[in-house]
Symmetry: C2
Subunit: 161 residues, 2 copies
């Protein structure tokens, strides 16, 4: 009986956590206007929290331009990283942040455009309360796409400076 109870409690706990995660997800998703489908979950080694990525324009030698869309769930963010030819971000809904190494964290909202110059460390992600939908453009892909670096710490994520 005791073992059964512990198992039951454990099951309830797991179900409860799982349902709670789904609820948070759905609540935020329902607030936002998705233009594209959510895509696939970004790998845990490059992201903190859940960041969903869908490729929109694949790399080729005609346009040398990659386009995609990321849905950062509340609190989710990329690691620090660089792009050899820089990156253009277009925020289509929600709320989030962008920070270039050594510069203040910027708050982003629907309609904002951000440019990160070539080979400069940056990170981007959602606010703690609201997710962020953002398209990204990688130009001049003949030079490469991305170099992933260290995690964005809680301190870095929370700090406005």
């Amino acid at each position: 009986m005791k073992i059964l109870s512990i198992t039951s409690i454990a099951t309830l706990l797991i179900l409860s956590i799982s349902c709670s995660a789904q609820t948070t997800d759905k609540t935020d998703q329902n607030k936002l206007n998705f233009i594209f489908s959510k895509g696939k979950l970004g790998p845990a080694e490059n992201f903190t929290g859940k960041a969903w990525n869908i490729g929109l324009v694949e790399n080729d030698t005609v346009y040398n331009t990659v386009v995609g869309n990321v849905y950062f769930e509340p609190g989710a963010r990329s690691n620090w990283h660089t792009h050899p030819s820089g990156q253009i971000l277009i925020i289509t809904d929600g709320e989030g942040y962008h920070q270039i190494k050594g510069h203040p964290r910027q708050t982003l909202k629907k309609g904002d455009i951000v440019k990160c110059p070539p080979n400069v460390e940056h990170w981007h992600g959602a606010s703690p309360q609201t997710g962020m939908l953002q398209m990204y453009i990688l130009p001049k892909t003949e030079n490469g796409m991305v170099t992933w670096l260290q995690k964005v710490t809680v301190e870095e994520y929370s700090n406005h400076k």
Copy 2:
């Protein structure tokens, strides 16, 4: 009295046409999810109907990429034109068309992505009933941006082939 009547009728007619144009515009605009402000009206020599353009990323030598957004009101379309490095279109709302010379007209809706190769004639615009919101990306701008050509005729606009 007769002159006054004619003037009054003329004034009423002008007001009525003006209100009607504004109503159509507002009705369509209210249906669509604008991410960016509408911008400026495109020149009549390059567009049929009302196409509003806002620049999002200006040309420079770092990214060599121009990004902008066009709101085509219902029935509005570009002239035929070419881009020396091609163009990527991203439909964010509404309904419209894209046609590459010699190919069938494509119908476009929210979430669609279209690529037009370098130096290939194409046109794009809204459906007759619903406007279209579309972002455009011009890559490799070191080669130039656009060459404007002839108007898209009513026959070309209406024809599915």
